[in-house]
Structure formats: C-alpha cells, structure tokens
Symmetry: C2
Amino acid sequence: MEYFPAPLEKLVEQFARLPGIGGKSAQRLAFHVLSLTEEEAREFADAILEAKRGVTTCPVCRNLTAGGLCPICASPRRDESTICVVADPRDVMAIERAREYNGRYHVLHGVISPMNHVGPDDLEIKSLVERVDQGNIKEVIMATNPDTEGEATAMYLARLLKPFDVRVTRLAYGIPVGGHLEFADDATLMRALEGRREL
Amino acid sequence: MEYFPAPLEKLVEQFARLPGIGGKSAQRLAFHVLSLTEEEAREFADAILEAKRGVTTCPVCRNLTAGGLCPICASPRRDESTICVVADPRDVMAIERAREYNGRYHVLHGVISPMNHVGPDDLEIKSLVERVDQGNIKEVIMATNPDTEGEATAMYLARLLKPFDVRVTRLAYGIPVGGHLEFADDATLMRALEGRREL
C-alpha cells in the first residue's frame, strides 16, 4: 500500500478497523471519500463526532438517547409496570417494529459471558434490580437472545428477581412465522411442541 | 429506525451512503463508532477531513499525491522515457506490486464511456498528449482494463498518439498465471493462442 499518499493511507487504515471491512473494502470506501465534495466530507466527519458526543444512555432504561430520558421512558402512554429486558439497543428497535409491546425496556448492554470475561457487574443489572426494587413493576419479560449466553443471562436475572413481588417471563420459543418445519432444528421443534396451545 | 437518537440515526445514514454498505451494515458500523473512545472517534473524523483536504493529483502524471510531485515522478531512478497509462490510481498500485515496471505513469481517472457520459475531455488525456508532445518519451504502454471500455480508450489514445514519434504498446493478453485452461473464457484462450511465443 506504499504508493498511496499518507493521508489516504491513514483513512484506509481507519476504515479497515471497522468490523466486517477488509482491506479491499477499506480502499474502496477511502476512494469514495476522495470523490465527495468538501462539504459532504465535513458532514460525514461531523456525524461521527456528534454521534460519539451526543449519544448517551437513558438514566432509567439505559437505552441510547440524545440526552435526558429516552423517548420511551419519557412517554406517558407506555405501561410503566412492565419491563422488557434486552441485551442491546438494536433489540429495542426490533421489538418496537413488531408494534405489539407497550411497556418499558431495560437494556443490559451485553450478556453474561464467562468466555469473554463479561460478568454480571459489567452489565446494567444493578440498575435493573433497583428499578424493580422501587416497586410498581408487575412483570419483567426476559427478551435476551435464545442462545446459550442469552439463556443463561435470563436464568440468572430470573433468580435475582425472585425475592421481589414480580412476574418474570420469557419470550415464547417456537417455529418462526413463515418458516418451514423441514428446516427447523431439533431444539426449536422440541420447544414448539412443548409450548403447543389449544386452537 | 425511529427509535435511534437523532445523532446516531444521522451517522447510520452517512454510512449507508457509502458504496456497498447496506442498512444493516451501516447500523453495525455506527454502533461500532459509539464503542470507540472519544479520541479514536476524533482520529477517524480527522482522517476523513485530512484525506479530502490533503490528497491532490500529481501535476505531471495525475496520480494521487499528498502535495507536489508524486513519489514516482519525483524519483530520479525511474525511467522517464516510458509512460504506463492506467485508468485509476489503484491500477498504479497493482502494477507497482508486480515490481517489474520501472517507468512513469499517467492516470486517466476513468475510461471513455459514452453510456456514462464520459468523453475524452472528462479524462486526463490532454495532459498525456502534452507530456508526449514535450518529447523524450519513447514508449507509451496502454494498461487500461481488458474490457470494452478500457479497450476502446486504449485504441482511441493509440490513434491520438500516432503523429508523435513514440511506440504505443498494450499489455499482453493470455491465460492468467496459476489459472486453469478449463475455466478460461473463449476470448482469453483465443488471445492466448494468438500471442503464443517460442519456448
């Protein structure tokens, strides 16, 4: 890469550090930046700085927000007595898209993962327990991913919340809507049978 | 996407404008920026601005440079009498990697493409003719891509340079080293046979 001018080389390196961007893609992106107008390049650079500076976490649910309470915690129309616990802010968006849930959220910012040295203290678990402890919460829905770590985190939290007078639930397992039985794995099919309901 | 804070949303949009980056990737990249330290984010933003501001084209060969003559034009060890004509600065890098060529370059910044409204006047063709006209050039090697547009551009330039006392050559066609005959297309095989050489 020694035949690129230094500032271009530096930008290629920056892009190459992004997740899922290899050397060739980084080059392509850096060349694209050269083709932008001065103003467009400034907008891009500003967007990076402003996202980094302007985005904080909501003091109540720990979801991302542009400052102060997040729109969901600030909304009087959302049911305060239900908390849906998710691992990541993107999961909030996924559930909101379903337009089915009208309660509040709590974002853990990760899952318990001994392999990656992530313990309960590295997550927003204390703040969740405090919210439940302050009362008025009737139900906590565990909406972590249905994988080993998400499962373990949900189990851990369920045990932690047992002393409180609160219902702890888990998202239903089963075959995905529009899916094919043929392609469903054994564990999913087993759970789908276990969870079968009267028609 | 209405559940992301505005500055994050803006950054996702900026990433989504980059070539080959879809909505999901843009989200992933924007979240990655949030996970950077303030200093890392500033470095990334600065790299964008500095690449845009600091990279210009060499006044002789039109390759990218950090200002003034590019390192290749500035080097006294490169053969001044040979010019290799390429479409893109990345092609210079590809040829340099082969460590076979010791002449100078000329970067057209595109190829003639009537479909995309790119004519000879949109490319660095006048500057090439001027270089050849100033004398001392013995050979001009056409190293545009072996596709229709690269071919047409090479033919156009060859005709344009005919009045000058200069040898105009084209990169050899043939089967790629390490390739399989089985997978070579007809046109390549035909050219490989045409261009066969004594062993």
